[in-house]
C-alpha cells in the first residue's frame, strides 16, 4: 500500500522535471541578487547571508507549495480523495514528504556549495543546514495548508503568500536566533529544540488538518 503511494508520487514528480529544477534555479537566482545589491564587502556578506539564505528559502517554499492542490482541484481529484475509503491522511502525508523531497532537498544539498561561495564559516553553515532541515518541512506543510485554504479561488495571485507568511515568521525567528547565537558563540540548543518541537507538532497534524480544510473548501 505505502509502496504504491510512494511510487505514484515519484512518478508524478519525475514526469514533469520542471517541478524539480525550477525551485532550485529560482533559489539561486534570488540568492545571487543579494550580493549584487550589497556589494562585495566580505564581512558584511558573511554577517548577512545566512539570513538571506533563509529569506530565499521562504520565498521558494512559498511559491512551490502555493499551487499544490491547484491541478487536483481542476481535475476533480479532490473529490476522489474525500470519497475514498482508504485513509487519505496517509496519502497526503506522503505527498507532503514528496513535495519536500523535490523542492527543498535540492536546496539543502547545495547549501555547502553556497557557504563556500559566500565564505560562511563552518559552524554557521552547519547551523544553517540544521535549521533548514528542521524548518523547511514545517514551511512546506504550512504552504500546502495555504493552498488548501484558497482552493476555490480562480485568480491565484499573491493572496496565499499574504495569508501564510504570518505563520512562517515564528520558524524564521527561531532559526535566525539560532544562527545568531552560533555566530556569537552562545548556546543554541533551546532554539533548535523549539524548532524540533514545532516540526513534531505540525507535520503529523497537517494531513488531518488538510483533509478537514479540503472538505471545507470543496463544499459548494
Amino acid at each position: 500500500m505505502i509502496k504504491a503511494i510512494v511510487k505514484t508520487e515519484l512518478a508524478i514528480y519525475f514526469r514533469n522535471l520542471n517541478s524539480i529544477f525550477l525551485p532550485l534555479i529560482f533559489f539561486f537566482l534570488i540568492l545571487s541578487v543579494f550580493p549584487l545589491i550589497l556589494g562585495t564587502d566580505k564581512i558584511l556578506l558573511g554577517k548577512v547571508m545566512p539570513g538571506m539564505i533563509w529569506v530565499t528559502v521562504i520565498l521558494t517554499t512559498l511559491l512551490s507549495s502555493n499551487n499544490f492542490f491547484r491541478d487536483d482541484y481542476k481535475n476533480g481529484v479532490i473529490e476522489t480523495y474525500l470519497t475514498a475509503d482508504t485513509s487519505i491522511e496517509l496519502v497526503l502525508f506522503f505527498r507532503i514528504i514528496a513535495c519536500w523531497l523535490f523542492t527543498c532537498l535540492p536546496v539543502i544539498v547545495f547549501i555547502p556549495v553556497i557557504s563556500l561561495l559566500f565564505e560562511i564559516s563552518f559552524q554557521n553553515s552547519v547551523i544553517i543546514l540544521l535549521t533548514l532541515i528542521l524548518g523547511t518541512p514545517i514551511l512546506i506543510s504550512i504552504g500546502i495548508f495555504g493552498s488548501a485554504l484558497t482552493l476555490g479561488l480562480a485568480k491565484n495571485n499573491i493572496l496565499t503568500p499574504v495569508i501564510i507568511i504570518p505563520f512562517y515568521i515564528p520558524v524564521l525567528i527561531f532559526s535566525a536566533s539560532a544562527i545568531e547565537a552560533v555566530s556569537i558563540g552562545l548556546p543554541y540548543t533551546s532554539q533548535i529544540s523549539i524548532l524540533l518541537s514545532l516540526l513534531v507538532l505540525v507535520l503529523p497534524i497537517m494531513p488531518y488538518l488538510l483533509k478537514y480544510t479540503l472538505e471545507l473548501s470543496i463544499n459548494n
Partner: protein, 242 residues
C-alpha cells in the same frame, strides 16, 4: 427571556436599533471622562514624566486587539461546528475592528517609544508578535473578500482565525519568555502592583470604556452584516417600511 432568540437574525436586528444609539452616546461619554482623567487628573510619573499617559490609549487598545481576536476565533469556531448564522456574521465582522485596535496599539506604541526608549521601533518579541497579529487580521479580511460565495468565505476564514490563535499566547507571554525592551506585566501582578493606584485606576477605567466602544461597533457591524445578508427577505422589507 430565552437567550437563544438572539441567534435569530430578525430578533437581533429589530431589537438592537435603539440600543446602538444609547451605546454610542454612552461610549462617547465614557471616553470623554476617561481622556480627561488620563490627561489631567492622573499624576505625573517620577521616571517617565507625562509621556506615560499614552499608556491610557495604548494598553487598552493592545488588550482589546487580543480580546477581539479571541472573540473572532470563538465565534468562528461556533459558526464552523454548529453553523449558527449570527456567529458567521459576528466572526468576520470582528476582523476590521480588531485590525483597527491593533493599528492603534502599534502606532501609539511607536509614539510612546520615541521619548521613552529613544527609538520608534525595535524588533523585540512583543512588538513583532503584535505586528504579526495585524498581518493575521489583514490576511483574514483579504481572504474573506476574495471569495464570491460568502458562506464559503466564512468557513475558510474561521479556520484561518482558529489556526492563528496560537499567536495570542505568544504575544501575551512574550514579555515573560524573552528578555526584551518592553516592560513586564503591571496589571496582572497580584502580589505588589508596581504602579501607583492613582495611575492604575484610569487605566482600568479606559479598559472598560474601550470595551463599551467595542460592543457598540460590534453590534453596529453585526447589524450591517445581517442587512447585507437578509436585505431581500420579507421581514426586512416590512421592517424598513415602518
Amino acid at each position: 427571556m430565552n437567550i437563544s432568540k438572539i441567534a435569530n437574525l430578525r430578533y437581533f436586528y429589530t431589537k438592537t436599533e435603539k440600543i446602538t444609539v444609547f451605546l454610542s452616546f454612552l461610549s462617547f461619554l465614557l471616553f470623554c471622562i476617561g481622556v480627561y482623567w488620563g490627561l489631567y487628573i492622573a499624576p505625573t510619573d517620577y521616571l517617565q514624566g507625562d509621556s506615560y499617559r499614552i499608556m491610557y490609549v495604548h494598553v487598552p487598545a493592545a488588550w482589546l486587539s487580543l480580546q477581539v481576536y479571541i472573540i473572532m476565533a470563538l465565534s468562528g469556531f461556533i459558526a464552523l461546528v454548529w453553523k449558527v448564522k449570527i456567529m458567521e456574521i459576528a466572526s468576520i465582522q470582528c476582523a476590521p475592528i480588531g485590525a483597527f485596535f491593533t493599528l492603534i496599539a502599534l502606532i501609539t506604541g511607536m509614539i510612546w517609544g520615541k521619548p521613552t526608549w529613544g527609538t520608534y521601533w525595535v524588533w523585540d518579541a512583543r512588538l513583532t508578535s503584535e505586528l504579526i497579529l495585524l498581518f493575521l487580521y489583514i490576511g483574514i479580511i483579504v481572504l474573506y473578500s476574495a471569495f464570491s460565495d460568502k458562506r464559503q468565505a466564512v468557513k475558510v476564514t474561521s479556520l484561518l482565525a482558529i489556526i492563528g490563535i496560537i499567536n495570542i499566547p505568544i504575544i501575551h507571554y512574550s514579555v515573560e519568555w524573552w528578555n526584551t525592551l518592553h516592560q513586564g506585566p503591571t496589571v496582572t501582578k497580584f502580589e505588589k502592583p508596581s504602579a501607583h493606584i492613582t495611575m492604575l485606576l484610569p487605566l482600568l477605567y479606559m479598559l472598560i470604556a474601550f470595551n463599551v466602544y467595542f460592543l457598540t461597533v460590534f453590534i453596529k457591524r453585526i447589524r450591517l452584516g445581517i442587512y447585507l445578508r437578509e436585505k431581500n427577505s420579507k421581514w426586512m422589507k416590512e421592517y424598513l417600511n415602518d
